[in-house]
Symmetry: C2
Subunit: 298 residues, 2 copies
């Protein structure tokens, strides 16, 4: 399959839905809503919602529509975007550029950027819970919310970011690096495929299989990110290159060198693909995404 | 009824539950979890969870237990606490003192405080969604999550905070002041009583009645807060007194003077009490809380 065509088509589906769900920017809160829209429509790759949609389709019967899954898929993108806005703040990574555009706080100021992140996280949970937006059965919606809340929270994404920030400039052993990466990147990527499978009503065994795919794809994604931060230019990345080394961040290239990191990324991507063997042809899009994750240039 | 005794007893119930629900501080995320616990157990009044519990009891049959409502009540406190942590940041109100203790960022640094707030908001949604924590029927849990997400999000609490920050030092007409206060304070207070009533399975008419109580109690609460910021000392408040005027914030005393503000606070509290007339004696605790809101000294 032509993965770049697939990703482009899926990205359009996600962006149309995101535009539909986002609150209209009018009334007293219009200016606030524009600060959310600025980052939400700044040209992200939409990997997490695409993983969610793809996992749902490969585990569902024909009765499941994209419309059933899109609120969850878009909620994942809202959570990812909020985490980027907060990550970029001066007190965190202090980045001026993101997705090739000035970061949220560079445009609207720090206070507005903190609140934009807070609002996007909250809005994500409304997307998943509100029956006027998400038509899945109540128990399914709750399972999805719990899965994503656990992945994004203190023992998932935010916990990983905390460890990441606290260990800047310090020696980080390999097992801690794994914990940091599994938290800050892996947890939400795994939750993306798992939430898609839950939306599709997949059984526990398929959910476990997809979680194994997600764990490995998430690891591959983060190692590839670490490598891109070393090898690419800021222009290619749309964000500051070389920033990890400058901040003394724990990364795979710092611990293992570039060549071994590349090997580890490919191995993780392959493990993700192997996890899907039982799915046969239906697993092709997720297998192609695993390839894309380690060959992308931004 | 002796309202201070009631509030003290309820506060203990809430704090025991919060301690039960909070993640144990061990493993790789232990340090992060401690930063959440620091602010969560810094001596808050627990007004929102108490409103939630009280509204649930006055609308429920005898089969509803505190245990059914406490996950929601504690989620409200997690959301309130996250908003305080972010409010106190240097980029926002830049406060060094909160509830008589150094603010979260003063102890752990800005990055950790941003992440503590993010984690607490996320954890709130896990408390409400996870069936191992909250035993209410699925459809009830979802209604509660949607209600609280709408109240805490871009068109509720966070939206109000955005308007508040953006209008510092500017002339704010009365209708905008109402919008700011209804957002930043009123929405979550109304959601507290409404969520309690939903937990108790109250019908729409009772929910509307409680929302009217909440809107007025929330207004009374915010006017009283504005007044305390002018009249009290930092020692009494446990946070910086006089900070609103110093930052050129839109407040009732700034717009109407102290005496008229006091009258308006009492009027709002009375309107909250009048809304409960149909509840008869069962409404006594919420009526007493409305009184407490405008007579408290911190």
């Amino acid at each position: 399959m032509e993965i770049r065509t697939y990703l482009r088509e899926q990205k359009e589906i996600v962006e149309r839905a995101l535009a539909d769900y986002m609150l209209e920017a009018c009334g007293p809160f219009a200016e606030h809503i524009s600060t959310l829209r600025y980052s939400l429509f700044a040209g992200g790759k939409r990997i997490r919602p695409i993983l969610c949609l793809t996992a749902a389709r490969m585990t569902a019967g024909p009765e499941l529509t994209d419309q059933d899954v899109l609120p969850t898929a878009c909620a994942l993108e809202c959570i990812h975007t909020y985490s980027l806005i907060h990550d970029d703040l001066p007190a965190m990574d202090d980045d001026a550029l993101r997705r090739g555009k000035p970061t949220n706080h560079a445009v609207y100021g720090e206070a507005a950027a903190i609140l934009a992140g807070d609002a996007l996280q909250c809005f994500a949970f409304e997307l998943m819970s509100n029956e006027e937006i998400c038509a899945l059965p109540a128990s399914t919606r709750l399972k999805i919310i719990t899965t994503i809340a656990r992945a994004a929270g203190p023992e998932g994404m935010v916990g990983g970011q905390f460890l990441d920030v606290m260990h800047e400039g310090r020696d980080v052993p390999y097992d801690l690096l794994r914990t940091i990466h599994a938290g800050k990147t892996g947890a939400l990527i795994t939750a993306s495929v798992v939430a898609g499978a839950i939306a599709a009503g997949a059984d526990d065994s398929r959910i476990r299989t997809l979680a194994r795919y997600g764990d490995n794809a998430g690891l591959a994604f983060q190692i590839a990110d670490d490598i891109l931060n070393v090898e690419s230019t800021s222009e290619q990345l749309g964000k500051a290159a070389g920033s990890d080394a400058a901040r003394g961040k724990a990364t795979y290239p710092a611990l293992f060198g570039l060549e071994e990191s590349r090997r580890m990324a490919r191995e993780a991507a392959r493990n993700a693909q192997i996890a899907l063997e039982d799915f046969g042809d239906r697993g092709a899009p997720l297998r192609a995404i695993a390839d894309y994750i380690v060959t992308r240039t931004r």
